[in-house]
Symmetry: C2
Subunit: 382 residues, 2 copies
């Protein structure tokens, strides 16, 4: 049976940190080192074909067989220390959430993340440890059922976004049959929209319809490329072309905020404020309705700058007093005076705010100022 070839529960949290041939103890399956299953090989092969990967050379022949590969730690994007610190005995306390999608899976991930935001208070300090597992591009019932079985075995919650209605109903039935708690994220909203528009959904995940990418899509790409080029005051002459201009002292989050807004389709330029350095003249010539000042609590800023100085070995701009409290306060005061001289620029306090939250504030203000005769909103046409 397929399940027996998969890693058992107990090893899941090792996989997060490192999944190697030497790390196979504690297997419940009793088979010692699990083999790469024929099913898994089929999946990889099918995926590789879809992705345009050159199978013959890279995947099947040249790449050394999985079981012979040397132990290699997984370069983790998030919490790389978790797996190391995570004791095997804790595994049974960890609650798993499986996210299954026949598309990219990013919607399922966003929804689970947002919902988990309401459990932050107990996720802190691992009060109730949770692990999420994203299975994307699951476009046939066989794979879906295998994942559902594994979810049942692991006692996981299964969250799915399946555009294909036959897959969605298969997921629902399988979860009922095997007692897996489940939530269909996309089904209800798709039904509501279908009923609202009076047309049927295609049943295809985005991108599978073969329709060309939209103009809107290319505009978003252009916004990202524009924004990267303008980062950190690189091309002040282009400020006039930006939709939004951000200004603030070092470490107020201008760069990640710019990028976040760019991904939403806005061309963003950011201009650093450095004490004693005069701002580019053009900043005072562009439409002040599109300029936003960023400020932050001095203590918090000092902490962020100290951490940065530590990481970088020195201050990012070579100033040795970069993270000293007197300097931090004076630079923020320098920025405050600049903002006071430009009273049409809203000033946003980013203290304790995630980039997503600051982005929401910027865009609300941006649209509020433009759409004076309606309820503040961000509108878009399809």
């Amino acid at each position: 049976m397929a399940i027996s070839r998969l890693c058992p529960n107990i090893r899941y949290f090792h996989q997060i940190g490192a999944c190697t041939r030497n790390d196979q103890t504690g297997s419940k399956s009793g088979s010692g080192r699990p083999k790469v299953s024929p099913q898994l090989n089929r999946w990889s092969r099918a995926r590789a074909i879809r992705s345009g990967q050159k199978l013959e050379r890279s995947n099947l022949r040249t790449q050394p067989p999985a079981t012979e590969s040397p132990p290699r730690p997984l370069p983790l994007p998030v919490n790389p220390d978790d797996a190391v610190n995570f004791d095997r005995a804790d595994a049974r306390f960890v609650k798993s959430i499986y996210m299954v999608s026949d598309g990219t899976g990013w919607t399922a991930e966003q929804c689970v993340n947002a919902a988990l935001g309401q459990f932050d208070y107990c996720l802190v300090d691992r009060g109730c440890p949770v692990s999420t597992h994203l299975f994307s591009g699951i476009d046939d019932a066989e794979k879906l059922l295998e994942i559902t079985k594994q979810a049942a075995k692991e006692g996981a919650l299964l969250v799915y976004t399946l555009a294909d209605p036959s897959l969605a109903s298969a997921a629902k039935r399988a979860c009922q049959l095997w007692g897996v708690p489940s939530t269909d994220v996309l089904g209800p909203i798709t039904e509501a929209i279908a009923s609202h528009l009076g047309v049927s959904p295609s049943g295809l995940p985005r991108g599978a319809s073969g329709l060309p990418l939209s103009d809107d899509y290319f505009r978003r790409i252009e916004a990202v490329e524009f924004t990267i080029k303008q980062d950190d005051g690189a091309s002040p002459k282009n400020l006039a072309k930006a939709d939004i201009v951000l200004t603030g002292v070092s470490r107020t989050g201008k760069t990640p905020l710019s990028i976040y807004l760019a991904q939403k389709g806005y061309k963003v330029a950011n201009v650093p404020i450095v004490m004693g350095v005069s701002m580019p003249k053009i900043l005072f010539e562009v439409d002040p309705m599109k300029v936003f000042g960023l400020t932050i609590n001095p203590l918090v800023l000092q902490n962020i700058r100290r951490a940065r100085t530590k990481t970088m070995g020195l201050s990012s701009d070579g100033r040795s007093n970069y993270s000293e409290m007197d300097y931090v306060r004076e630079e923020l005061e320098f920025a405050r005076r600049l903002f006071a001289e430009n009273p049409l620029w809203p000033v946003i306090d980013v203290t304790g705010k995630a980039i997503e939250e600051t982005a929401a504030v910027v865009l609300r203000l941006y649209h509020d100022r433009k759409q004076k005769c309606t309820m503040p909103r961000i509108s878009k046409r399809y």
Copy 2:
């Protein structure tokens, strides 16, 4: 009544393009030019306070009153021509979707976008025109009810993500009362997670709990900053520090893909392939398991390059033959040979794929190659 002070249906699509004092004809309310409502002023004021904006100077005194502001087109992030081309008579055919959130609203937006993906076939060429309106930071019942009434008036579908359970139930009741079709996106998944974890949700939108930002959050910021610095082969010496290295010829989407992956917490470097230019030696020294080649159909690439040449006035690197078919084919062949010499690099065909989709393929392959003993998945700890 509050509603009468808001822009009536017929003007919504003008607001998308430009909302000015000269654009007030066609009002159904019969009141001529709508005033900025006291309610709206309260909202703007409350928001400004939350955002740290300096009210006295920038919002209330210095900024000219709304009714006196000169006509100013809204610099639109998306489809700026829509409003211009959109005839007022069409307004009644356009279906509105209201998205209401007591947080940033990005989850509601992502879900609506994903669901709309299933109606792409009829959104193309405005077969069934749709407009979405995002109301974020809606944290009291008064605002919520005003929006719901407006949704009723406009015949809109209301999609909400309200962490506060009393707001969520108020939304549900109001929608039932006024016959507004509605979908609660976050409620079901939050309930499922609460039941799965055996703890109660906080009822607070993310960021409202006052908890400090997580280490994971700062790692994502760091990944974005790293990735911007490495863009377009800027610092080959740092390739070793990257989690993922992308390589491909100009206009295969390396930059936006890098940024998208960076936002998910991966440090990404990208190295351009230019015919006749030797690749940095370090590219062949880093772990080949983290290098990904990008390729694309030559005809599609030529079209993209032609469009770019047109926009930029000349080719981005000054090569006059940049978008000529012979050159395009030869450069892709040059890339193909490079990929053939490095058979451990998967090669992904990006033709017709959105960045999100290519990102999903890259991350699936990346994790598949690391986690050889399990079902392909992307795992994360909380």
